[in-house]
């Protein structure tokens, strides 16, 4: 052998050994790193790949969600490798491409590790695994053994028909119910117009919106749709924006966006609405005014002033404004104003709309939203009585949680325990499901077939966007299997078949092609509406009953404090409570996370000696809760506010034990006319037992100390400025050093504070898109939240001693001359040629100098490695690195989306077009407050915003040259306007 051979052999051997070692190590690593075995422990590429799956590319499915919030929402589900990783709004639906924070967090519901993983039987109080066959058989036997109650959320479209048919086939009763229903509004509209409906509100056409406590930007009726249409009305470019007046005891998220607040005493809304109607009728006159003249006569501003706590001159002034408005609209209260006179309030608001000419224009009774039949609170109480009486042999609950969402005083939970068989089709072990005998877990909406009726004749189609992670089946399929198990044939094998059968007629000859097209082209389909709906009048006449309704003047108030309960954007009726994104989304009003609280006016807190975070005890005749105080100027001194949705006892690891459930304070009184539960108005006793409760508040200061962060302009000033302002579409706002002069792009953003209402959808979308971890209550309390975007809620004083609120989303400003960049010793943060402040996670050693030097405080440090339990990790976006402990992170304008757009453009040999890059925050924004684009294009939308009269940069005086332009909010309130020049602060101090 010569040396050369030896050498070659040696090299051969070592290379093979190396590859072997690499292979073994790789396999070992793969085995170790894949926790759940069912994900697959072998990395084998597809020999024949499925048609849909392109590696590294999302497949988008259109579908519709009806349990993702108060309204049905069309979504595009982005699916990567068989797992949905992001939800975005479907532009074809009324939500117009936007989603709320709660809807964005639906993915954490889908991947909730606390979902019931498969059928379970309760044996001696413990849940034991069962097979689907046994479970279905047992459930069917129970259903067949006597009268059965099927309890579901309100259903529309095929599901409504299906449940009714199933109930008929099984000899069962079907009751649909939801906690925050609209029974009072329906009852009032029945009286007023003979139409027990929720009308269609056209806020886009309104020029003055008077909300009687309706939190329509966050939780009421259809917040995503209404926020979008209100933002249209509020648009200040080239016209006078609509005015928003808020009437009620407490400023909700919507209230904080109002121009004026009439702090009406809880329970006085009806008389106030009538007094306003009287003022309007006097000024407007005409037929409607004449019709209701007699009932309005006693409701003079002076007569109502004392009872409502609103000065007579303010009532008259508002009446005058409404009378003068071109297209006003009054919105009735949500549950925060739902007391024992709920129907009267709704009726009074309807009469106000009537005399103001809103019926048929901004309040229409044709093309109304389809809500589906729903039981009222009183109906549920009646059901409880029947259950206690032993009328029902079996109860099947599916998708509802009455044991949590009805006050104990309703007796529902107790009565449910009396029913011999309780079959739950719940996805999770909530307060209701945990009392069941059998659990047959349903699939999630995102794993199911279905359709939803949005408006009469207009439907959204639902399709499963991925295979279930758990051993679950579609709710309707479980019901079908139960029917089949006891020989009650419904004529179909599966619900999918049932659904297709329902659409066969509308499809025409080629059903397959139609069905495929309908699903792939946006999932909105129509079919001729029922004759009645078609004939519906937009403006039905006011009934004689309403025109002569015996309203009574309110009695003078006593001195007590009353309770106001309200839903929040993050939890709604409690469904969001087990989602960490929702627990960690700061409340729009308090900015608190992972908590419940008691909102009280400073003058209420002072005699008790409590400050933010001090425990207060709230007692009513029905019960007592303890929660930390939140001192808030936006609530009347004679009211306290407690949010709904927390205080779960069974719901999952995230929700359980967080906060309190204020329903314990309700004695179950209902509005006698509609049967609606009185959520508000109960007298309470307040004591301060001492001690503090942790309530992490994610905002340091409530004002910006005139540092020009949240800027407000009077409407007149804004219009005058816009008039005098010329935008030069050829002028560049860029300085040479902001980005590489050779780069065609510098990315920029504009945020219109006049459109932003602080709902937090962008924040949650950012968590979902960028794998931003949640950290839990303890770490939030230590100031270690990870949100890349934070909505600051700043109060501005007004000249009439009130205050205005500006919601300012603060994210990395991608400064052109960034303070964070020069201080990093290792170049982990650096300036990209396109002007972004990139963050190289692998390079970061964690000195935190960049965060110290960031004037906007938008950098987030990984104090620990945060990991979510399986299967929550399946939601992680593969396009974005998951960060480890010791690394700084922050917003980079969704750089993965920028790169995707650039690649697409490059493949087509063209530059990226304006509006082509859509960041996650911008995509989901219900009010389209966020715009994104290229600042090197002088005509792009962001360039125009930066040069516009309302544009300014945050702390631009530091010469950080932020790439984010904020557009000043406008208000009709008499805010103080500083002497600083308006606009142009972002680009070289150009004054206008």
């Amino acid at each position: 052998m010569n040396n050369g051979d030896t050498k070659r052999n040696g090299m051969d051997t070592s290379r093979r050994d190396f590859l072997k070692v690499l292979g073994v190590a790789g396999a070992g690593a793969a085995t170790v790193s894949c926790g759940p075995p069912d994900v697959g422990d072998k990395l084998i590429p597809y020999l024949v790949p499925p048609e849909d799956i392109v590696p590294g590319t999302n497949v988008t499915y259109s579908t519709v969600l009806s349990e993702a919030g108060p309204e049905p929402l069309g979504v595009h589900a982005a699916v990567r490798d068989g797992r949905v990783i992001k939800l975005e709004g479907n532009p074809a639906f009324p939500n117009r491409g936007a989603l709320s924070a709660l809807a964005q967090s639906t993915l954490q519901d889908l991947y909730d590790p606390d979902r019931v993983p498969g059928p379970r039987e309760k044996v001696d109080g413990d849940w034991t695994e069962a097979t689907w066959e046994a479970a279905v058989q047992a459930a069917a036997t129970a259903v067949g053994s006597g009268l059965t109650l099927l309890l579901t959320p309100p259903a529309t479209g095929s599901a409504a028909a299906f449940y009714a048919e199933w109930a008929a086939a099984m000899g069962a009763e079907w009751v649909a119910w939801e906690p925050l229903g609209h029974e009072a509004m329906q009852a009032a509209n029945e009286i007023a117009f003979g139409r027990p409906e929720v009308p269609a509100y056209d806020l886009a056409a309104a020029d003055h919106v008077v909300s009687f406590g309706a939190d329509f930007l966050a939780t009421w009726l259809a917040p995503v749709e209404l926020a979008g249409s209100y933002a249209e009305a509020r648009d200040v470019d080239g016209r006078e924006p609509a005015k928003l007046t808020f009437v009620g005891p407490r400023l909700s998220l919507t209230g904080t966006n109002a121009d004026a607040w009439l702090p009406a005493r809880s329970g006085s809304e009806a008389s106030l609405a009538l007094a306003l109607a009287r003022e309007v009728a006097e000024r407007r006159g005409g037929g409607p005014a004449a019709r209701v003249q007699s009932i309005l006569a006693p409701f003079t501003a002076d007569a109502v002033a004392e009872a409502s706590g609103v000065p007579a001159e303010r009532i008259r002034a508002l009446g005058e404004e409404i009378a003068a408005a071109r297209s006003p609209v009054a919105l009735p209260p949500d549950v925060s104003g739902q007391g024992v006179y709920a129907t009267e309030v709704h009726l009074a608001v309807a009469i106000l709309n009537y005399v103001a000419g809103a019926i048929g224009t901004t309040v229409r009774f044709n093309d109304t939203p389809v809500l589906g039949d729903a039981a009222s609170y009183a109906d549920m109480r009646a059901l409880a009585t029947r259950m206690r009486a032993g009328e029902f042999r079996t109860v099947v609950t599916a998708g509802v949680n009455p044991a949590y969402a009805l006050p104990a005083a309703s007796g529902f939970a107790a009565a449910l325990a009396d029913v011999p068989n309780h079959i739950s089709l719940s996805t999770r072990l909530d307060e209701t499901a945990s009392t069941a005998n059998w659990l047959l877990p349903s699939s999630h909406e995102l794993e199911s077939w279905g359709d939803v009726e949005l408006r009469p004749g207009t439907y959204g189609l639902r399709q499963p966007v991925m295979r279930p992670v758990f051993d679950v089946r579609q709710r309707e399929d479980i019901l079908l299997a139960m029917a089949a198990a006891i020989g009650r044939d419904m004529g179909v094998e599966s619900y999918g078949e049932y659904l297709q059968a329902a659409w066969r007629e509308a499809a025409g000859a080629d059903f397959e092609a139609w069905w495929h097209a309908a699903l792939s082209e946006g999932a909105v389909v129509t079919r001729p509406a029922a004759a009645a709906a078609e004939a519906a009048e937009a403006a039905p006449p006011l009934s004689a009953a309403a025109a002569n309704y015996p309203f009574t003047l309110p009695e003078p108030p006593d001195d007590g404090t009353v309770l106001v309960l309200y839903p929040t954007a993050q939890f709604y009726d409690g469904r969001g409570a087990n989602r960490r994104w929702m627990q960690e989304l700061p409340d729009a009003v308090t900015k608190a996370v992972w908590s419940s609280w008691v909102e009280m006016h400073p003058s209420t807190a002072e005699p008790l000696g409590v400050e933010n975070g001090d425990v207060v005890e709230v007692s009513t005749a029905a019960g007592t809760v303890r929660a930390p105080a939140f001192v808030y100027r936006g609530i009347r001194p004679d009211a306290i506010g407690i949010p709904l949705g927390q205080g779960h006892t069974e719901f999952g690891r995230t929700a359980t034990g967080v906060g309190v459930n204020p329903l314990e304070l309700l004695d179950g009184t209902a509005d006698p006319r509609s049967g609606a539960l009185a959520y508000s108005g109960a007298p309470v006793d307040l004591t301060a037992p001492g001690g503090r409760d942790r309530m992490p508040i994610m905002q340091g200061s409530d004002t910006d100390l005139d540092r020009e962060i949240g800027e407000l302009l009077r409407v007149d000033t804004a219009l005058a400025m816009a008039q005098a302002h010329q935008v030069d579409l050829t002028e560049l706002v860029e300085a040479a050093w902001d980005s590489d002069p050779n780069s065609p792009y510098r990315w920029g953003m504009s945020i219109d504070l006049n459109a932003c209402n602080g709902c937090g959808a962008c924040v949650t979308a950012c968590y979902a898109e960028n794998n931003v971890p949640t950290v839990g209550k303890d770490l939030c309390d230590q100031g270690r939240e990870m949100s890349w975007m934070q909505i600051m809620r700043y109060y501005e004083e007004t000249e009439d001693d009130g205050f205005q609120t500006v919601h300012v989303p603060v994210l990395c400003q991608q400064c052109g001359d960034a303070p964070c960049e020069p201080v990093c010793p290792v170049y982990a943060t650096y300036h990209t040629p396109e002007g972004l402040n990139a963050q190289v996670y692998n390079r970061c050693v964690g000195t935190r100098y960049c965060a110290n030097n960031c004037p906007y405080k938008v950098r987030r440090f990984n104090w620990y490695t945060y990991e979510d339990p399986y299967p929550l990790n399946l939601q992680l976006n593969p396009d974005v690195t998951v960060r480890q402990k010791g690394v700084m992170e922050k917003c980079t304008f969704c750089v993965q989306r920028i790169n995707r757009a650039k690649l697409d453009a490059k493949a087509e040999g063209r530059p990226v077009e304006d509006g082509e890059v859509v960041t996650a925050c911008m995509q989901t924004c219900p009010t389209q407050a966020i715009r994104f684009g290229n600042l090197k294009d002088p005509g792009s939308e962001v360039s125009r915003a930066a040069k516009g009269s309302r544009g300014y940069g945050l702390m631009a005086e530091l010469n950080t040259r932020p790439a984010v332009t904020y557009l000043k909010a406008v208000t009709y309130a008499p805010v103080a306007e500083g002497g600083h020049g308006a606009g142009g602060a972002d680009h070289g101090g150009e004054e206008h």
Binding site: G783, P822, Y849, N852
Partner: protein, 448 residues
């Protein structure tokens, strides 16, 4: 150990042989007390080591730092120790160059203190890193990625400044030790003789040796002198280069240098008084030395007090509302306690040194030096933490409270420092024998 009349014990002045014997006596056989003290420091070092291990395992979240206060006790303690490191060079080099005779008996201990303080300070930039296992990214090594450190970052300047200071201080200290090491070589037998012999680099005490030695010592003193000003100036730029209100100020370099000398002198006093007593060095470290150190302490206290006042004046003069709010909050806000502790310890207490009786009381001096040590730690806490907690964006304000891990590591840093100092006192002469003998010989010749 100390009374108002503590001066040189009665009796004849020490002879050259006395000096040899007295100063090197502690090196011979350590008493049990020494082992006990060493054991205590070792235990605290161990606790700090465990705390650091936990921090590396779990993440730096075990410290109390947060958003917005990214730097806390670690950086506070880092700056504190860098400050302590200052007076060593000042006393050895600057006072040598200006021929201040009173440095003779204290320079060795002060230099040792410098070395150990830098060794302690140097740990903190590592401890505070989020990912300490990648610390070498900060070093300009020829990496395969072709990435160098960012030379615009004050943290990189810092590394070079402290590295240079440590190197020069170590060489300077070692050079001064060579004649004494030779003396120890001649004194001992066996292994110790070999070790001291190797360290003495073949010193023979010849005129030629002395000539080279004196020349090199002078040059090194010359090189070291600017470092007194540069090191803490650079450390101060870690803050002054940031745009944080409360940091971004041109007075920071002189302000920090004065503060460093102030705290360094205080630490020298804190160390020398017990050492003098424990090793019976009363004849060598006298009222003369302490009085001079007390005067230096008073001077630097006044400079520091002036700097505090100037910070407020500049904030007011600028009429920058953000700057004004920052300084208002510093004195009135959540951290008002640390602020007033700082003012009391650093400005009010040292004013008593105007009185000769207090300067001449070792007990009073010792207590005052402890106050200054505490006050100077709080000064860095106030500068670093209150500035970060209350910055530009009011919505981002937050509060920082140190955690147990941080406290353990801070206490451990003191243990680490004293551990090395204790070892020093038992292995090397704590006073420069050669210089003392030179001084004594000079006095005898000229009948001082």
């Amino acid at each position: 150990m100390a009374t108002a009349e503590y001066d040189v014990p009665a009796g004849p002045p020490p002879t050259l042989a006395d000096a040899n014997r007295d100063i090197s006596r502690p090196i011979e056989t350590p008493p049990w007390r020494f082992w006990l003290l060493l054991g205590i420091t070792a235990v605290f070092i161990l606790i700090a080591g465990v705390a650091w291990a936990i921090q590396i395992r779990d993440g730096i979240g075990v410290a109390g730092i947060n958003n917005p206060v990214g730097w806390g006790v670690y950086i506070v303690t880092f700056v504190f120790w860098v400050g302590i490191a200052h007076s060593g060079t000042l006393i050895s080099a600057v006072l040598y160059l200006v021929r201040s005779g009173w440095r003779t008996t204290i320079n060795r201990a002060a230099e040792a203190m410098t070395i150990f303080a830098v060794m302690t300070a140097g740990l903190f930039p590592l401890i505070h890193l989020g990912r300490v296992w990648y610390f070498y990214y900060l070093i300009p090594y020829p990496s395969g990625r072709l990435i160098w450190p960012n030379f615009r970052s004050p943290l990189v300047w810092d590394m070079f400044a402290i590295g240079t200071y440590f190197t020069i201080s170590l060489v300077f200290w070692y050079l001064g030790l060579i004649p004494d090491l030779a003396g120890l070589r001649d004194k001992f037998t066996g292994l110790r003789k070999k070790i001291y012999g190797a360290l003495a680099l073949g010193w023979q005490g010849s005129v030629r040796d002395w000539a080279h030695y004196r020349r090199l010592y002078l040059y090194l003193a010359g090189i070291a002198t600017p470092l007194v000003l540069s090191v803490h100036s650079v450390v101060s730029w870690d803050f002054a280069m940031g745009i944080t209100p409360g940091w971004h100020s041109t007075i920071f370099a002189p302000y920090f240098v004065a503060g460093a000398i102030f705290s360094g002198i205080a630490m020298v006093i804190t160390l020398l008084i017990p050492m003098r007593w424990a090793f019976g060095l009363e004849k060598y470290i006298t009222k003369y030395h302490f009085d001079n150190m007390a005067k230096l302490l008073l001077l630097t206290s006044m400079i520091v007090g002036y700097a505090y006042a100037m910070e407020y004046f500049i904030a007011w003069w600028s009429q920058d509302p953000i700057e004004i709010e920052s300084f208002r909050w510093r004195a009135e806000g959540f951290y008002a306690g640390p602020f007033w502790v700082m003012v009391f310890c650093n400005v009010v207490v040292p004013m008593s040194l105007f009185f000769r009786r207090i300067r001449n009381s070792l007990a009073a001096l010792f207590v005052i030096s402890i106050f200054v040590n505490i006050g100077m730690w709080y000064e860095r806490f106030v500068i670093i933490v209150t500035s970060l907690a209350h910055e530009y964006e009011p919505g981002g304000w937050g509060i920082y409270v140190p955690s147990a891990v941080e406290i353990a590591i801070m206490v451990g840093s003191f243990a680490w420092f004293f551990f090395w100092f204790l070892l020093f006192t038992k292995t090397l002469p704590t006073i420069s024998i050669a210089e003392v003998k030179e001084h004594l010989a000079h006095e005898q010749e000229h009948g001082h």
